[in-house]
Amino acid sequence: MKRFLAVAALLLGLVTVASVVACGGSGGSSENAGSAGGGSASGPTLRMVGGDPLTLDPALVTDAISATYIVEIFSGLVTIDKDLKLAPDIAKSWDVSPDGKTYTFHLRDDVVFQQTYRQVTATDFKYSMERAVNPDTASTVAEAYLGDIVGARDMINGTASQISGIEVVDDFTLRITIDEPKPYFLAKMACPTSFVVDKTQVEDDQRNWTKKPHGTGPFMVKEWKLGESLTLQANERYYAGAPSVKTVNFMLSGGSQLTMYEDDEVDVAGISINDIERALDANDPLHSEYLSADSMSVSYLGFNTQKPPFDDPKVRQAFGLAIDRDKIVEVVLKDMVPVAHSIMPPGLPGYNSSATAGAYDPEKAKQLLAESRYGGPSGLPKITLSQVGAGATAGNDIQAMVEMWKQNLGVEVEIQQTDQATFWQDLDKRSYQMFAAGWVMDYPDPEDILDILFNSKSHQNSTGYSNPEVDQLLVQARTEQDSAKRMTLYQQVEQLILADVPWVPLYYGRDHVVVKPYVKNFMLPPVVMPYLRYVTIDQ
């Protein structure tokens, strides 16, 4: 019996140790459960499932998930409003010099940092942008968002200790000079890289300051448990008035969103393709709580225009015309996304509703393939379509396309799934023949998609597309000061690209959620932008 007891004691011992420590842990989480319960003394609470933010440092953020929190906590000179227009934020107004290169921002004098209530001045903006490009900060997006400012690249390269193009005129006047008169520069200023941070806090604790950062946005961080939860609290000193919702609780650890929603654990839940039929069914209680909105993004098939067989435009056209995107969207994607007929997605300034990416035409597709340099299906080399994926089976839409190419063109296409780390790397090397990918707009300007992806000199040009006329128009559009003329230039560029078919636009993005009826004014922003302060809750 003694020996048997020894086993029992061993097991019991483990349990006791575990439970002693667990008590400490569960104290913290019951507190957490209390705050998630809604309707607490602190005012209206919104409970959501959120993606796990990788950082809350505006200078470092590269992913859209982290950015959705950052734009609520921090703010910059300008922002994007509900109508997707560039709007004043901490800069109440600005003047642009006649040559279009110098921006003079007039700052509000009533903006303070959270917690410390220190007034935000032009010096803080200069500090924040110089910190973002400082090599020690190690931001991977410093060039992309601040590289247009005169002297920014010198500081990135370590040859200057400040950005010569940023000048503090007085406490509330900031002058920024850029290298060329680029109208889209202002749109970049609405992105987090240039947002203002509290120098005192950052310098005080370089590593830990983002755990409870002093931002200037409508919400501040109450508690951030890495990978578990992020609780935001209304900033009562927000210059445009405190938000109506006092606490926003994001659960970061995943879980079955719709089940949590139906069990009243969260107020908003994403709707996946498995649940869309329920949301669309008028007899289902979810139907009246369902909300969908376009997001400014586009999925596409990219062809490597430098590699056989897609070095022949006729082959690219044939592949594009042989897929029935309407049918794929209807049958496979259950109409959750709209079919794309252009490169620039709807909502983007310059979007052209009359642009046409070739419609389904299997006969013409066959004919084009026969006319191509490869003479038909038998002359083609082995074709592989690459896609991001971790599972054993490819996306149903991709499988449908492969089937359509087989039926309509008599071509076998192999699908290669790669994880994203390898995918991005290979895409940069242009090692794919054909790939399925998407582009999410970072700021609402056509430059952010057309110049970045189709200029033959851009590193982002993964299709290897090169059209001198397109290049020339893109350069012209960059600095065209007349906005209407500029958009016409971009539409011309889009037409030229669509005719050359380096891309087959597939679908535009659309988000689907259900929102509890007591949550009012909830919106699904098409690009990353602050929106939580518009939300109200009927108790």
Binding site: V7, S26, S30, M251, A421
Partner: protein, 317 residues
Amino acid sequence: MQGLLPYVVRRLLWAPLILLAVSFIAFAITRFGPGDPLRVAMGQYSDPVALERVRHEEGLDKPFFEQYGIYLKNLAHGKLGESLTYRNRDVSEVIFPRIWVSARLGLVALLIIFAVGVPLGIFAALRQGTWADPFSISVFLFLQSVPVLITVPLMLLVFVLKLHWLPAAGWGGLFDKRIVMPALALSLPGIAGIARLTRATTLSVLREDYVRTARAKGLREFTVISRHVVRNSLLPLVTVVGISLATLVEGAFFAETLLGIPGIGKLTFDSVQGRDYNIILALALVLCSAFIIANIVIDIAYTVIDPRVRYERQRLG
């Protein structure tokens, strides 16, 4: 017992060497495998200049052995480095809270596996030849073959949406009702294995002479079973605790993701996806250490429980 201490010391001395080998293999796989943590972090933007600048800042452009040397040096100082996906966060800060969550969950699942599996196995062995034996084992064999991807949604439907007994997701520690579903999801597939093993060992013990002797002495059946049969049939089970731990780690990913548990399952997946070298390495080392320690503890436990096992190799050698 005199052979035990040198044995344990020898095992403990081997541990750092095993860890060193594991660290080298894992380090080489991360550095020479496809994919680049910085490139993934940049997402849809790629700027080769920025990429090389940050690579230099992070020391990832140094030669392989220099990087490995720096890693080992830091490791010797107890530093696991900095996460490459969670910017400006120490690896330890990212992984230990989650390991602690998964460890507690795993322990509870392990206890359930043994608490249900052992009596079930004994029950089946004693009912050998009746319908109850194959029936009880089949039920748990069925549960073993149902993947977590099915059991979790079923539990959500029943416990959350129909009965409203439990919340659908989250974690609140050992004494929070949210532990019920993940613990069940992780333990259900493991019960059958333990039950079958217990059944087999119990059956062999039942045929032992000392059981016949005990019965012949006129002991009550309950005493025979509890004192002579159960005790002896449990011994081999100690060995499989370690193996059960390994299967729990595998099952954790889906259960944690589906039930919103902030454990290592999802973190491991995300770190591999994001090529967060330092987190991958740290997880490999921590899990490896856990297995080494678990095995040593089991070996010690074995000698304590079963006097027939002695570490006498030393005397022979």
